[in-house]
Symmetry: C2
């Protein structure tokens, strides 16, 4: 695979940690919410094994926040998501599909309830702030919407708990998954959630004080030596094995949450008012016509830079691969694909062309592990 460089400019913003990760050996970037997101520190596979056994510190500042506050903030946040937030609690994170009036996915953020009238929408890669502003203006909602200067450091991997305990004390290990609380470091208060874009466990530190955040970044590496800490980033192999969906890759505005297996975040039987509710009721009644599934392919290598057609024995397209990677665990290529009805069934077989050769694959459930 030929390598192309990324052209840096102010439009793809550096993070407070960029100069550090460049000294630490970052080799590839992607752009995420108009910001640099590290995509590799050398070998993807070595980083995968390291993440599953040790602890990594990730610059995920590209996971931007949309802060929504004010009298109508709860109404606006609820309007944007099909998940019922009427019983949501301060101090908790909620994974929430954001959809438009046609039930098409716009983003799949984690929403943090900071206060009864203050929320952070911690977004995947699309400008949710513009959707929120448009809705607020059009509906004349009494809200304030802006992007605060929050730059997340993720600490991920099985040894993240021990590492974070050494810095913040026992209390941090007692948090529940998707809970958050405030912890002090060098005099600054940091919101820390038990969350992160891996299934290996860990935390996300929502850094508001850049100065303290940089000191904390360095401290994590200093204290982390005994746990073999390394810099890292969301890992393609780990996230596909774990079935973590990526907005823009696996799901997009042409998909609705029921097609993406997000049924448990779709609450149609409550009284809350959200966009696309009638459309989703209709979809639920008539049944979905496509569905996101896992696939296992008898191949040793793949690079997915766009959708790849999946073909049946009659040479008809039955689906498309949207993400894929060689899995050292399965010793095969695994991936996430959208299949048309009626082909979204376990063990359905298909053919796929990779580098001009044809390979066989079959449909399976998500997550893989």
């Amino acid at each position: 695979m030929k390598i192309y460089s990324i052209a840096k400019s102010r439009r793809i913003r550096s993070t407070p940690y960029t100069s550090r990760i460049e000294k630490q050996g970052v080799t590839a970037y992607t752009s995420y919410n108009h910001m640099l997101l590290p995509a590799a520190f050398g070998s993807l596979e070595e980083s995968y094994h390291h993440l599953k056994e040790n602890v990594q510190v990730w610059d995920v500042a590209g996971e931007r926040q949309v802060e929504i506050s004010g009298k109508d903030s709860a109404k606006l946040v609820q309007l944007m998501t099909c998940r019922d937030l009427s019983k949501s609690k301060v101090g908790r994170c909620y994974y929430c599909p954001i959809i438009d009036d046609n039930a098409g996915l716009i983003n799949d953020p984690v929403i943090l309830k900071l206060d009864e009238q203050r929320w952070w929408v911690s977004i995947a890669d699309s400008d949710v702030i513009l959707f929120a502003k448009g809705l607020a203006i059009g509906n004349k909602f009494d809200v304030k919407i802006f992007e605060p200067d929050v730059n997340i450091i993720a600490v991920q991997g099985p040894k993240s708990f021990k590492l974070m305990e050494k810095i913040f004390g026992k209390k941090i290990t007692e948090m529940k998954f998707f809970g958050f609380d405030y912890f002090e470091f060098t005099g600054a208060k940091h919101l820390i959630a038990k969350s992160g874009w891996s299934k290996q466990g860990g935390y996300e530190i929502y850094v508001e004080s850049t100065k303290s955040g940089l000191a904390l970044y360095d401290k994590l590496f200093e204290v982390g030596k005994e746990f073999d800490v390394k810099p890292g980033c969301p890992n393609l192999i780990e996230r596909i094995e774990s079935g973590l969906l990526s907005y823009g890759n696996d799901i997009d505005n042409n998909d609705n949450p029921l097609e993406c297996g997000l049924d448990k975040y779709v609450n149609l039987d409550t009284n809350v008012n959200f966009l696309g509710k009638e459309k989703l009721k209709e979809v639920k009644k008539n049944g979905i016509i496509k569905k996101l599934m896992g696939v296992i392919i008898d191949a040793k290598e793949i690079n997915v830079s766009k959708s790849i057609d999946l073909i049946n024995e009659k040479n008809l397209k039955i689906g498309e691969l949207r993400s894929g990677v060689y899995s050292p665990h399965f010793k095969k290529v695994i991936g996430i694909a959208m299949f048309n009805k009626p082909h979204f069934v376990i063990s359905q077989t298909f053919k796929i062309s990779i580098n001009d050769s044809i390979f066989e694959g079959k449909v399976c459930d998500l997550p893989f592990i």
Copy 2:
């Protein structure tokens, strides 16, 4: 400057022309509207000289369209821009700052009036579609909003007129600047505008039929041989010399159009209704507190990947450089910078640190050439 690779994935979409430009020697990409935009074909300076003397074909599919149609489409489009479109004509392009209710810039697209009730908003790098959808939903406008599958090929440079004439005939040379019309190629109809993101002259072909567009892409290179046609992309040197602003680089949501020298696109004295109008009246009355200006710096090299502070003789920050490049024409670094009041005056001097050395610079007007 160390080189980092770009991690490709479906989230940063390939264009119909990506496989072609990769065979033609693209070396760097940026991401633009969640799509790959070529950023270099080898030397920036060689490409700059070539563009100013010959003709280039650019894959600028990342310049996506937001199509807005329906009974309330004109009302919605007008609501989003401070430029008075009440007398706009079908068949014309309009450069329009899009602003929010606080007059902060959201994008600076060219808007094409396709029909009285059908518009294409040809966007810079932010999800205008989400703003438009939010406003339409909130205001209960009768409109249809979607991103059509349009992939622009730009033909730029002084020889673009001759090249395009050879393919489309005399008529194409008679179009006025920012006019558009429809031209046939291999049986498909292509909207072609006399426009483009350089000041060297040329066209933008809004390709709707991918098949015909690919044939046209190849035809441009075949016919273009006699004009020394080459593949290219928006050129940092040329666009800064020409004073073409880049949303996200030179201007962003923290700036209003009056601060960015876009006064002629701000129509406060008409009856049209747009967001941020009252705010802009207030700004106009009180005067702007910062202003975008050109700068010339006594240096031979610069890489601007984030804002760089500009300091006066008292060591106070008086502005920030947002884009910059070495100009072979001026034999100095030139750039675009935002200066605080009262420092946005011609010949104001400043100091800037580049690669740990201090250089002198001074303020000038835009454009440079």
